[in-house]
């Protein structure tokens, strides 16, 4: 997903302005020029200048505003891309309740399926990897990975 320089410059300009506007609401320190707002204001100002420079360099090039990468036109790839991030959300939500074992096996299986690992191999692989990671983090490094519904068999 490639944006035209003029467009990305404009977005950076807007972002920089928002930073400056927000920073101006910070309280100023009595008798001092260097309050909490000074540094963010300078950064925001820098972003505004960069945005302007980028927009200026991209002017009149005739490049399309927005150019989609090849993968965006392939539903399978878009699905894979979404799954990577959805899987992370799933882990964060589920790990407390289901526990590490079940969550990790589902987490791995979903992605392996999406990436085209042969089906009969997926669950054994996911189980094996989960066991290894659990051993490394839980037993060796003593990270308290949650047990969730498997609390009864916890070791």
């Amino acid at each position: 997903m490639k944006l035209n320089d003029a467009l990305s410059g404009l977005l950076i300009l807007i972002f920089g302005t928002a930073v400056v506007v927000n920073a101006r609401t910070f309280p100023s320190m009595a008798s001092q020029s260097t309050g909490p707002s000074l540094f963010p204001t300078l950064i925001g100002g820098g972003l505004i200048l960069c945005g302007l420079a980028l927009a200026w360099s991209g002017r009149g090039r005739g490049a399309p505003w927005f150019q989609a990468d090849d993968w965006v036109r392939r539903p399978r790839m878009v699905l894979n891309f979404g799954l990577v991030f959805a899987d992370l959300v799933f882990y964060a939500i589920a790990v407390g309740r289901l526990g590490f074992f079940i969550t990790a096996v589902i987490f791995l299986s979903v992605l392996m399926l999406a990436f085209g690992v042969r089906r009969p191999r997926i669950v054994p692989l996911a189980l094996a990897v989960t066991m290894v990671i659990h051993y490394a983090f839980y037993s060796l490094l003593r990270v308290p990975l949650p047990w969730g519904v498997l609390e009864g068999i916890a070791w």
Binding site: F26, M29, F39, L88, A92, F107, F137
Partner: protein, 498 residues
């Protein structure tokens, strides 16, 4: 001092530390040899592990893994024409053509030998330069530190590939991220939008894992995975003929090591840029520049030494000033703080044994590279067959366990996810990632020293140039900022002169 050195040896040659070194060496070799997994990513993935280790093994883990990964990147470069890490990209073409000519042993052996030699050279410079720099740095005030950080950030922008404006945007973003939370000189919560999680700021580790590892998995997810064809030929004695090579090309090996160490020490530029510059330099000074790009060993030697020496070079400013020399040391600095090994000149006086331990680990890692690298080359065919469709989900699980494990917070997973997405789109639009991380690591330090200096100076900007070293650093930083304008000014003059 002798007492401290002995203490350092005892710390390193402890069975637990040695087993950590061995395990991280294998991890580094594996990650480095898989195309698409970089040395920076190896470090980011190790952070959650180091979180639960004592300080010395934690440092040992990262030093060893990165040194091995940078060498291991040469192996798929030579065999598949796919650099294992970006640091091997510069000479990948030459290395692959040599394999095609039936010289796989020579090029793989040279990659290994000169990686180790470059690494050892960089380590010696680190050992010599860091303590004396630290001695000088003891006298630095906030003015010197302010300019030092400015100089570091400046070189990060100008050395990063692509247009400086894009590097600058990336840097500003990192500085902005560093302002989030109440940990600032005024202790006022900035950009928290009422969120309790944002009060203590955005944590470096989930951001790093997101930007360097999650984004890479996402990039894999949208790429067409082509099955890897490993050449069938057997690989024999890789050390044969290396002595002759060393006699033929002593100068390129030395030049590569020197340039690599210097580029590594420059903030923002690491092993990959060191390799590109060294390769170009090798071609420039070679007696036979026309052979470059046709499967020729000279550039492989020079750039292969450069990328490993850059790793050690990057630790010089990291240990002495807390200013990372590359994105790997940016991560390392985060870990050093977590472990209570705060970088800076003070650690050289208060805990010299820890610094000596770091030096010893560097030597150990580069020596261990020879036998382990030999084994990797022998096993390369099997390792390169590991399907990435299995590997990538495992890496992602590692990321999420790591981001989660440190604070058990869902918020950190969200941060990792958001920055993974951001890095993915930044790279797609050719914005470099390294300056963001550098800005994030150095933002707090920059503001702290700026505010302290302003208060000391009573608001008079001229005070920033009152002390000689501060003035020198300040002028250097300003000159680099102005350099594009100066060059643009000089260019028409030169044309008219001709």
């Amino acid at each position: 001092m002798v007492g401290h050195v002995i203490l350092a040896f005892e710390q390193v040659f402890d069975p637990f530390v040695l087993s950590v070194v061995m395990a991280s060496a294998l991890f580094g070799l594996f990650v480095g040899s898989i195309p698409g997994l970089s040395a920076t990513m190896a470090t980011a993935l190790l952070v959650p592990v180091t979180f639960f280790l004592p300080p010395i093994p934690a440092v040992a883990c990262m030093v060893t893994a990165t040194a091995m990964a940078i060498f291991a990147g040469d192996v798929p470069g030579a065999l598949l024409r796919m650099p294992g890490t970006p640091a091997s990209a510069a000479y990948c073409h030459d290395a692959y053509l040599m394999t095609r000519k039936g010289q796989a042993e020579t090029v793989l052996g040279a990659g290994l030998v000169y990686s180790a030699l470059g690494g050892l050279f960089g380590t010696i410079v680190l050992v010599v330069a860091a303590p004396s720099l630290a001695n000088a740095a003891l006298r630095f005030s906030s003015f010197e530190y302010f300019w030092l950080v400015m100089l570091g950030l400046t070189s990060a922008v100008f050395v990063s590939p692509g247009h400086p404006i894009r590097g600058l945007v990336s840097l500003m973003l990192g500085l902005l991220i560093a302002t989030v939370g109440f940990e600032n000189p005024a202790a006022y919560p900035r950009f928290t939008f009422g969120s309790v999680d944002l009060m203590s700021g955005l944590q470096l580790i989930p951001v790093m894992i997101g930007m360097f590892a999650v984004s890479e998995v996402a990039r894999y997810a949208v790429s067409a995975d082509t099955p890897i064809e490993v050449p069938k030929q057997d690989i024999g004695g890789i050390f044969k003929g290396q002595g002759t090579l060393l006699k033929t090309y002593p100068l390129p090996a030395l030049r590569g090591s020197v340039v690599g160490t210097l580029i590594g020490a420059l903030p923002g530029a690491g092993a990959d840029i060191a390799a590109w510059i060294s390769y170009a330099m090798s071609k420039r000074f070679s007696k036979t520049p026309e052979k470059f790009g046709t499967g020729y060993i000279e550039g492989v030697i020079e750039a292969g030494a450069a990328n490993n020496s850059a790793l050690a070079g990057a630790w010089i400013p990291a240990l002495v000033f807390g200013i990372p020399g590359d994105s790997i040391t940016a991560i390392v600095i985060g870990v050093l703080y977590l472990k209570g090994l705060n970088p800076g000149p003070a650690i050289f006086i208060e805990h010299p044994e820890n610094i000596y331990a770091v030096f010893i680990i560097f030597f150990l890692a580069n020596l261990l590279m020879l036998p382990l690298g030999w084994a990797l080359i022998k096993l390369a065919k099997n390792i390169l067959h590991v399907p990435r469709a299995v590997l990538m989900p495992v890496i992602l699980l590692f990321c999420v366990v790591g981001a989660f494990a440190m604070n058990n917070s869902v918020f950190d997973v969200g941060v990792m996810l958001a920055f993974g997405l951001l890095a993915f789109f930044m790279e797609a639009n050719e914005f470099p990632i390294a300056p963001t991380i550098l800005g994030m690591v150095l933002g707090g330090m920059l503001e702290q020293n700026f505010v302290t200096s302003m208060i000391k100076a009573g608001g008079h900007a001229a005070a920033f140039f009152d002390r000689p070293i501060a003035a020198g650093l300040g002028v250097a930083a300003i000159l680099i900022w102005l350099s594009p304008l100066i060059i643009a000014r000089l260019r028409p003059l030169r044309i008219t002169n001709h």
